[in-house]
């Protein structure tokens, strides 16, 4: 083996404390970045996952100009004739005012979004029905599911109680209707429809005087990989209409964008941390070199060139970088695996959707490795400035 590698390795191994310090500096830096990634990416994926199962489906059909006026049968029929579709269901959104009265006196009036669902189809497409923590999903015409946040605002309304809603229809008439609370909907992290009211879509259509109209259709596929294909097929079949179809990813784009910038910022902080690991390496290697000046002097006296001294200490940077990046990556993957198998949740409620992101794991490792090597350049350069005589006399 090249003597420079032997010398670099043995010198480094003789200072196990320094080596450990340098390796930990890098390793912990990588671990921090991994933790940030697991949390942010996990949170983003968890939110997208929940939006998908509660609101977006694999595909979501809307009309660019407003409500969809095609019949349920037509749209659902089209989708369900495709073997890759599990189901499709209509949804309609509106809002209502709720009065809170005490002893007949109005205390508060507040607006709540309402979502109309098909009580029979919806459970085949969405998991919204599973968010009903108490009671049952909507079934009869005047049954309603109250989001837990709304229920709270209503002073802790219970299943079986009656709720009076005032809804303004398309011609600005106020319609008052009484509902029986069928269930309370609650999701961990509030990613579901905890701030909404859920009622049968036909009831809502009647109340707002929009029979046959639909806000959107959500579609569940046998495999989300077919999203794009079926989206294109649909748009082709209805090319004369103003339909817009979004895949889960497209529907969640704004959320992803916000998360990406947050993730980007925190990752940047992680990388700044990694930079300080690089400074730690510089300090550690400077210490190592000052404890080895005599050896450097001996090497120089027997013919090691300045260039070789540089190489020796950069090799040490390579070794530190290699071990540090490996240890850090191992830490990071261990944490990711831990988060995955324990179904780690964010703030104690929302279960993170943890994924292995090998591309970013690799690029983080590569960055850390490169930083370690770069960090060794300055100490290595300093080492080349040692004159053999002074080096041997010193210490």
């Amino acid at each position: 083996m090249d003597y420079r590698i032997t010398v670099a390795k043995k010198m480094l191994l003789s200072k196990k404390g320094s080596l450990l310090g340098a390796v930990l500096a890098i390793g912990v830096g990588i671990l921090v970045i991994s933790i940030i990634t697991v949390i942010f990416l996990g949170l983003q994926n968890a939110i997208i996952r929940d939006l998908k199962i509660y609101q977006f489906g694999d595909l979501m059909v809307t009309d660019e100009t407003g409500l969809i006026d095609k019949s349920d049968q037509l749209i659902i029929g089209w989708f369900e004739s495709n073997s890759r579709v599990i189901g499709a269901t209509p949804r309609l959104t509106s809002s209502t005012d709720i009065e809170i009265r005490k002893d007949g006196e109005l205390i508060e009036l507040f607006g709540v979004p309402i979502i109309g669902v098909d009580p029979l189809r919806d459970p085949t497409v969405s998991e919204l029905h599973k968010t009903v923590a108490e009671g049952e999903f909507v079934n009869s015409r005047n049954s309603i599911v109250v989001g837990s946040v709304v229920a709270e605002d209503l002073g802790g309304i219970q299943v079986g109680e009656t709720l009076k809603l005032i809804i303004t229809n398309r011609v600005d008439e106020e319609q008052t209707e009484f509902f029986v609370v069928n269930g309370i909907s609650k999701t961990p992290g509030g990613t579901g429809l905890d701030s909404n009211l859920i009622m049968p879509i036909d009831t809502l259509r009647d109340l707002i005087d929009r029979p046959e109209e639909t806000g959107n259709f959500i579609v569940k596929l046998t495999d989300p990989d077919y999203s794009q294909e079926i989206k294109e097929l649909f748009l082709l079949s209805f090319s004369n209409d103003d339909f817009e179809v979004k895949t889960t990813q497209e529907a969640g784009r704004d959320i992803i964008r916000n998360f990406s910038s947050a993730l980007g910022m925190f990752t940047l902080i992680g990388y700044v941390g990694l930079m300080s690991s690089a400074f730690a390496i510089i300090t550690i290697q400077m210490m190592l070199i000052s404890s080895k000046t005599r050896d450097i002097g001996i090497l120089r006296s027997i013919g090691t060139r300045r260039k070789d001294v540089l190489i020796i200490f950069i090799i040490q940077g390579l070794i530190i970088g290699l071990i540090g990046a490996s240890v850090g990556t191992a830490f990071g993957l261990a944490f990711t695996t831990y988060a995955k198998v324990t179904n780690m949740s964010f703030a104690g409620s929302l279960e993170l959707e943890v994924e292995y992101d090998f591309a970013s794991t690799f690029s983080t490792a590569l960055t850390a490795f490169t930083l370690a090597v770069f960090a060794s350049i300055y100490p290595a350069y300093k080492a080349t400035k040692l004159q053999p005589l002074e080096a041997m006399r010193g210490v």
Binding site: T6, S301, I302, G303
Partner: protein
């Protein structure tokens, strides 16, 4: 016999102005291949300075230093390193060996640097065996005695067949018994390989008969023995 070293009108000054020290003054010496040379003189006279000049570990202020026919003042730092590696062997009083390499690895180092690794392990082992270190091959320098360290340094000094082996007080740190064996080893090796040795010492008696003795006094070089002989001849 061929000249391995030719020093002409060599000066070395340290510092400037009031603190200026003229460590070597107009030193001229010629040394032939195979000579065993002692450099003696009182403390601070300039012995180490001269040896360091010859070893290209420091540069003279003025004058010529020719080793193996090569004028060394024109060499750049890289060439000087190469030159030290190929032409010179070093034995110092202290700190000869790299603390993290074994005795065998330390011995082989000059040849590894020179990338002349053919038969290296066997030659190094052979040399260390002559030095009586066959049991210590894999030990670290911290695990052997001072005398053994100096023997290893001799082996390392010889491994690359240098033109000159330079030794600055190689026995200065040893008890007289051990010193004697080290001197003996150096002299034996000098004979065996027709190897030029230039050795700085405080204790010329330790060395017994040598080819030449150069005395440094206040930065000037004299060859006491030769002068005496010349006087006797006249």
């Amino acid at each position: 016999m061929s000249k391995v070293l030719e020093i002409k009108n060599l000066y070395k000054e340290f510092g400037e102005g009031d603190t200026k020290v003229e460590a070597l003054k107009d030193v001229s010496i010629e040394i032939k291949k195979g000579e065993f040379i002692l450099i003696v003189g009182s403390s601070g006279s300039g012995k180490s300075t001269l040896l360091n000049m010859i070893g290209l570990l420091d540069r003279p202020t003025r004058g010529q230093l020719v080793i193996d026919g090569i004028e060394t003042s024109d060499l750049d730092d890289n060439q000087v390193s190469l030159f030290r590696n190929k032409k010179l062997g070093f034995i110092f009083q202290f700190s000869n060996l790299l603390s993290d390499l074994s005795i065998l690895e330390n011995t082989m180092l000059p040849r590894k640097i020179a990338k002349k690794t053919e038969n290296l392990v066997s030659e190094a082992k052979e040399l260390l065996k002559i030095m009586g270190l066959e049991e210590q091959l894999d030990k670290l320098p911290t695990k052997i005695s001072g005398g053994q360290l100096q023997r290893a340094a001799i082996a390392r000094g010889l491994i690359n067949n240098p033109s000159i082996v330079l030794a600055d007080e190689p026995t200065g740190n040893l008890d007289s018994e051990t010193a004697k064996t080290i001197v003996q080893l150096m002299k034996t090796m000098a004979k065996k390989f027709d190897q030029t040795f230039i050795v700085v010492t405080h204790d010329r008696d330790q060395f017994g008969e040598v080819d030449r003795i150069i005395t440094i006094s206040d930065g000037r070089a004299f060859e006491a023995d030769n002068t005496e002989m010349e006087v006797m001849v006249k």
